[in-house]
Symmetry: C2
Subunit: 384 residues, 2 copies
């Protein structure tokens, strides 16, 4: 029964592939079809069909000191269909890839939550659900990303979008030309999928990109029209930036040749946000090559800024135990071994306080945009 | 010492007011100055200066069955300066209002977090901080909102912005004309402050507004260009909509005469999101008159939809204890006493399941936009 089902799925994928060729094919579509065809050929040869899925755990992740990004290694796990421990995940992978192919055919994008619901059903003649919850379907999508070597965005699925951008540039978003210097106070909401077939850069007069941790601080820079006077793109990702914001920064750095500066709170979480933008993350190591920006510069806030800018001790916040533990963890990461980074983090621990971007408003509402950022840029006071 | 300080603050506010008159005044500015002047006149008369602050607790909140909004009553608390229990809050209120006046003078907007940092300092000659944390400063801003009768947005402070909108309309945002039908996949990010001096409606061909609970579901409607074929504005607020989104909906209903339809998950939290949009909330009862939309229609999802649209039981989710308790709480609210609402909630409890918007993708990715919403609108199947 289960076997028959799989074959049917595979054949379905194959027939979809024929249809897709009529519609025009994409590299991603070809990859999905290729996966299905390899399974079919196993079956035709009366072999136990299996998939080789790159391993996504810490054991298969390392920091590439030359490229300066966190990378996934070469280890793969074999997932045979006729195997009690693997049959369910095999079925899920085939089902998911067949449904992902529909997105390609229909030129649609959708959310990972949608994909869970879309693929969920009771398997005929059983009481077994294809997926019990989203915790089961998300890893299958990630398995497919690494197996196919396609970004999730190329598979046309996304997590929740977030973030906004403005600046002296014109983009084309699904055919609409959008002048990012005429976006008022709201800005252009950054979508989840910013691949070149959706978002094109038409014109750009910006000299750099400033990625700001917080939406409210970004609003300050926008209201003060900092992007106009300083000729830069300003973008925020509301804390840890979502994939759309990371990928857009990557594209602006690589396609427009712009340097990327990162502005975060001075606390271990700020350091970490910066490091994910720069080196990628352990969880998503397989995406570093197309998301991480090793040239990203940490503009601030630094633990030396309070003294440098004469910030009142009244607005610093004492580090709590969690902050201290996290700072020590971060100090031990291979990508924070640079002497200047060790000094930066040690100094924070020594002072025993953290500092939020908003603390700069203790001086003047616009101190951050009028004085702090311009001065740091002018003096070249960043870490990289 | 403390007394002297207060007087100084009050005088400072007064002198700011003179300056502000040169810069041109606003009703909000006048109100802040008026507050300061009344305190000064107490002092000049050698009286104990005091403030009358409307009470923001549940005891002073009621549901106005005629207007169909949650309203704040008339009760006020007197906050005298020479009173151990009130001196600190009095000082904080004066300090905050003086700094809020600066925002008016400088034509700036800022975040409530910024205001906390901006007002925080060690009181001269003491070890006392003006504010210890933001939990102290936020209520002071709310006190000032109700005391002055000014929306937070009129005081030019905001919480984090969120949400996006597109549709067949042109707006002006801080002078930039933005065509909301040419916003690509991202959309226009809704700012926190959408008052008429920031956001103007230039043109609108939309026939209604569709407020969608989730960003990812909004993305489906945008990708399918539903707003174009159905001539409507589509807006999301990522769960419980932030004030900017609520206020913008309010303005579209009142100034553009558009009906507002709300599309949320079928669970107690979805009902609640709808009810806040419609009647306002207990916490922010003082804002209902300028934020709540009593004519808002609950388009879905209804507990009857699973049967109506033949949704597979596979994608419904069993109600947990928290859901059940919350549903019963909501059933008891005066504003859910309508017979049809009681029936709706009882039916959910009877079925014992909830249903997410994304569950509709179990049929087709675009089922929600192609079939579900159009059919409900056509048949007039909403609750209000």
């Amino acid at each position: 029964m289960a076997k028959k089902k799989t074959v049917k799925k595979a054949k379905k994928a194959k027939s979809s592939s024929k249809r897709s060729k009529k519609n025009g094919s994409t590299p991603t579509k070809e990859k999905i079809v290729g996966l299905a065809e390899s399974v079919v050929s196993h079956i035709d040869a009366e072999e136990n069909p299996s998939l080789n899925v790159p391993i996504r755990s810490l054991s298969n992740v390392s920091f590439n000191t030359r490229k300066k990004i966190i990378e996934m290694g070469e280890n793969k796990a074999n997932r045979p269909f006729f195997d009690l421990g693997n049959a369910r995940r095999f079925m899920q992978t085939m089902l998911m890839s067949s449904e992902l192919l529909k997105l390609q055919d229909q030129f649609k994008t959708t959310s990972i939550r949608d994909m869970f619901y879309h693929c969920k059903h009771t398997i005929e003649g059983t009481r077994e659900e294809t997926f019990n919850d989203q915790d089961e379907s998300d890893p299958i999508i990630e398995d497919l990303e690494v197996t196919l070597g396609s970004l999730r965005e190329e598979l046309r699925v996304f997590a929740n979008p977030d973030g906004a951008m403005v600046g002296p540039a014109v983009i084309r978003d699904r055919g609409d030309e959008i002048d990012l210097s005429r976006m008022g106070s709201g800005g252009w909401a950054v979508p989840s999928i910013v691949e070149p077939d959706v978002i094109e850069f038409v014109k750009c007069k910006a000299k750099y990109v400033l990625l700001i941790e917080k939406a409210a601080v970004w609003a300050r820079f926008n209201e003060d029209r900092f992007w106009e006077s300083d000729k830069c793109m300003i973008i925020h990702g509301r804390g840890q930036p979502p994939r759309g914001v990371r990928r857009l920064c990557y594209r602006m750095v690589h396609e427009l040749g712009l340097p990327l500066y990162v502005l975060v709170d001075n606390d271990p979480w700020g350091y970490y946000i910066y490091s994910v933008i720069k080196q990628g993350s352990i969880n998503l190591a397989f995406e570093s090559a197309r998301m991480a920006v090793p040239t990203a510069r940490f503009l601030g806030m630094s633990s030396y800024d309070a003294a440098e800018f004469d910030i009142s001790p009244s607005v610093t916040i004492r580090l709590n135990d969690k902050d201290i533990a996290r700072a020590k963890e971060i100090m031990a990461y291979p990508w924070f071994q640079d002497r200047r980074w060790q000094r930066e983090i040690k100094h924070m621990l020594k002072l025993g306080v953290k500092l939020e971007l908003e603390a700069l408003s203790n001086k003047e509402f616009s101190f951050i945009a009028d004085t702090y950022v311009p001065q740091k840029l002018k003096k070249g006071k960043w870490l990289d």
